[in-house]
């Protein structure tokens, strides 16, 4: 191994004086100020600037169009193109949920129902959004492709009860999801 001797750089008088670099620094900040007042900050366009600096001003402007495919927002339940509740209340998500945010009360499907052979569907399905950590394990563990994390992120409520999504709410947000695997009938 060759030894490399590192010498300290020799500073010229101007550099030692410190003053020119201060002035240079002042120009840098001034340039930033002018750019940001003109709404032409570097990188502003790609960051969806509001016209002052690179900042987006939240409730008026949103980043929703730029959210990636794999964004993990609110967990929801989905129905498929035949309007069937996909959840069979196997409770795997309830058991894997690290913060224990999910609570399911399973229910039986009546024998005269067209989907009687599925046997079970949830009677109650609550996800407590004050507990949820958006980890996506419920989605990963679901054998029925019934629970998905959507791109919604603005979950708000005035009380704790408001923050619990019940079954109706979950299907409302989740909506219909097409193109999923169907194992209970012959479609596809």
């Amino acid at each position: 191994m060759a030894t490399i001797k590192v010498t300290r750089p020799k500073l010229s008088l101007l550099e030692k004086l410190y003053f020119p670099s201060i002035v240079k620094g002042m120009f840098v900040t001034f340039k930033h100020a002018v750019r940001s007042l003109r709404g032409k900050s570097i990188g502003g366009d790609s960051l969806n600037t509001s016209g002052l600096g690179v900042t987006m001003q939240y409730p008026e402007q949103k980043w929703d169009d730029h959210l990636p495919e794999y964004y993990r927002g609110v967990p929801t339940l989905v129905t498929d193109e035949q309007d069937r509740e996909r959840c069979v209340s196997c409770q795997l998500c309830e058991f894997i949920c690290p913060p224990k945010a999910i609570a399911i009360i399973p229910g039986e499907i009546d024998s005269d129902d067209p989907w009687a052979k599925v046997e079970k569907r949830p009677k109650e399905f609550d996800i407590d959004m004050t507990r949820c950590i958006y980890c996506g394990m419920c989605e990963e563990v679901c054998p029925e492709q019934a629970i998905f994390l959507r791109k919604d992120y603005a979950m708000t409520g005035l009380t704790r009860a408001d923050m619990v999504n019940d079954k109706k709410r979950l299907y409302e947000i989740g909506g219909v999801r097409t193109g999923l695997v169907n194992k209970w009938n012959d479609i596809k």
Binding site: M26, H32, S36, L37, L52
Partner: protein, 374 residues
């Protein structure tokens, strides 16, 4: 009317007007400007929402005014916070320290000439609270007292961080006060007097100290004299930065090392008093720089005499003075958000080894040039 009565009433009006109606709102809006300017420098937006929340009263839209009501909200917040006095502090000094920081800062205002003069009831009233013949000396004497507030706060808090802040403030003050005092001597040699309103009047007649383009005109002697004056301007401005604990020299506060420095243990209005004291000191510092080097209330370009003849021309001068001070405050803010903090020993070295000598040599340089001219 009785001239004595007019004197008393006008002085009262000036005290209330300049201190409470001009400077304190300026302090509040300096904080707002600090936040907005720093945001703009850093490509952000800053507080731009605080306005009148009309939606609370059933209207469709809130009024924002670009966040101009933010200082009110800040003040309200300070009033609503808990005033906590820790049990391990020296109560007396702990309580007196915030007062000792803000009072000197506001006290120094009284010798700053805010404008020329207005004529009321046939009496000429100078727009300066106390027209004394020792302006700069008075300011230095009183402004130095504000270090007591910081040191008391640091010591009485009985907390290592605060203590360091207080000690640093003390050492910093000592090393900069000398350069501050010496750097102003060439200026006073040129003016030949210490009365600040006469100094400004002189600049209005003969051209600003750093911009002598009118009045006597720009002769070779004045250009020669500009060299020491620019040096003394630079030293004085940097010393004012140190004196007001502003950014390159904000070692007593020093959030990154000392949590909050001397005001770590303070909350609510006691903290607000420190905060206001710091900004008031910044305003007084800017006012002093403007008064000494940039012609105070003078409009310049030979327009002052005509304005001064008007009965309320003093108010125009007041506006000009405020514009200059605001420009300087923005400069202060700009510097704060550009430069990193000095290390402690660097600051001491700069004060004792560089500026002290520079200011001292500068005095003799000025004397030599003045001798040469005469």
């Amino acid at each position: 009317m009785d001239p004595f009565l007019i004197l008393i009433i006008s002085t009262l009006v000036k005290i209330i007007g300049f201190t409470f109606m001009l400077t304190l709102p300026m302090v509040a809006y300096a904080v707002y400007a600090e936040r907005r300017v720093s945001a703009i420098i850093q490509d952000r937006v800053g507080p731009n929402r605080t306005g009148i929340p009309l939606t609370l009263f059933g209207f469709k839209k809130d009024l924002h005014f670009a966040g101009l009501l933010q200082p009110l909200a800040d003040g309200l917040k300070f009033f609503l916070k808990e005033e906590h006095t820790p049990s391990h502090v020296r109560k007396f000094f702990f309580w007196i320290a915030p007062v000792l920081t803000i009072v000197p800062a506001l006290l120094t205002l009284c010798v700053i000439p805010f404008g020329s003069s207005v004529t009321v009831f046939g009496e000429q009233i100078k727009l300066v609270i106390a027209d004394i013949d020792a302006g700069p000396l008075f300011i230095f004497a009183i402004a130095s007292l504000s270090v007591y507030g910081i040191t008391f706060a640091g010591w009485a808090s009985n907390n290592k961080y605060s203590f360091f802040g207080g000690v640093r403030s003390c050492a910093q003050m000592i090393s900069y006060e000398i350069a501050l005092g010496l750097s102003i001597i060439p200026v006073l040699m040129v003016f030949g007097q210490l009365n600040l309103s006469d100094i400004v009047q002189y600049q209005a007649d003969h051209g600003w100290l750093l911009l002598p383009l009118w009045g006597d005109g720009l002769s070779t002697e004045r250009i020669l004299l500009l060299i020491p004056l620019v040096i003394s301007f630079v030293v004085f401005t940097i010393s004012i930065f140190a004196e007001t604990n502003r950014m390159p020299f904000d070692l007593p506060e020093c959030e990154t090392e000392l949590v909050g420095g001397y005001h770590t243990e303070y909350s609510a209005m006691k903290f607000a008093l420190f905060f206001m004291g710091e900004y008031a000191a910044m305003i007084v510092g800017s006012a002093l720089i403007v008064t000494l080097f940039f012609g105070g209330w003078s409009i310049g370009f030979g327009a002052d005499a005509a304005v001064a003849e008007m009965a309320f021309g003093g108010l125009i001068h007041l506006g000009v003075f405020l514009a200059k001070v605001i420009a300087f405050i923005i400069f202060f803010i700009w510097v704060r958000w550009t430069l990193p903090r000095f290390r402690y020993d660097q600051l001491m070295k700069l004060g004792w080894v560089v500026f002290f000598e520079l200011a001292l040599v500068n005095v003799f340089l000025t004397a030599g040039i003045m001798m040469l001219i005469n």
